[in-house]
Amino acid sequence: DQQVKQNSPSLSVQEGRISILNCDYTNSMFDYFLWYKKYPAEGPTFLISISSIKDKNEDGRFTVFLNKSAKHLSLHIVPSQPGDSAVYFCLQVGNQFYFGTGTSLTVIP
């Protein structure tokens, strides 16, 4: 059973607009979340993280929101740029490590 789900396999956004990528999880025992970005034929690269003591973390154009009651987190990218086009994964970390299935983001110039 998938512990971490990203229900949108793909997303297209116009350059300059906001991209919102979502992630839902089932096990609230593990309380640290990370977002990774992956280009084809490369390994994932770390973007931003959040722990359960916070509900928001911001780093430049990237903001992650954590809604613990809904077991949901989201990554906001604003403004979106063509170079943001990649597959995005959320990762839940505790004493286990669970990746989501990924969302392929396309930013249209």
């Binding site: 390994g43 994932p44 993280s49 299935t101």
Partner: protein, 114 residues
């Protein structure tokens, strides 16, 4: 190099063949992870080392899979008697300390079993 490196980048094996995949983590990184990523899926955790100690191998799919990190640096993932369902990208990651910290990933090894 400054990053995590993996070799080979691509491996084609005949069913039943044994393979060995190598991971060179970032120098000084304590934690090392192996993941398996099937086509169209997210990476799935296989195993985790802290230095030379394998602290979690709960994700290894069968006893055909074996990982080692004898000197707490380079790691090898070995798959014996490969099967077609083993075809995937195998990702290695390292982190400087606690496993809760963010992980630096290598480019992966794409294994194709014919």
């Amino acid at each position: 190099g400054a990053g995590v490196s993996q070799s080979p980048r691509y491996k084609v094996a005949k069913r039943g063949q044994d393979v060995a995949l190598r991971c060179d983590p970032i120098s000084g990184h304590v934690s090392l992870f192996w993941y398996q990523q099937a086509l169209g899926q997210g990476p799935e955790f296989l195993t985790y080392f802290q230095n030379e100690a394998q602290l979690d191998k709960s994700g290894l799919p069968s006893d055909r899979f074996f990982a080692e990190r004898p000197e707490g640096s380079v790691s090898t993932l070995k798959i014996q008697r490969t099967q077609q369902e083993d075809s995937a990208v195998y990702l290695c990651a390292s982190s400087p300390g606690s496993p809760a910290g963010y992980q630096f990933f290598g480019p992966g090894t794409r294994l194709t079993v014919l």
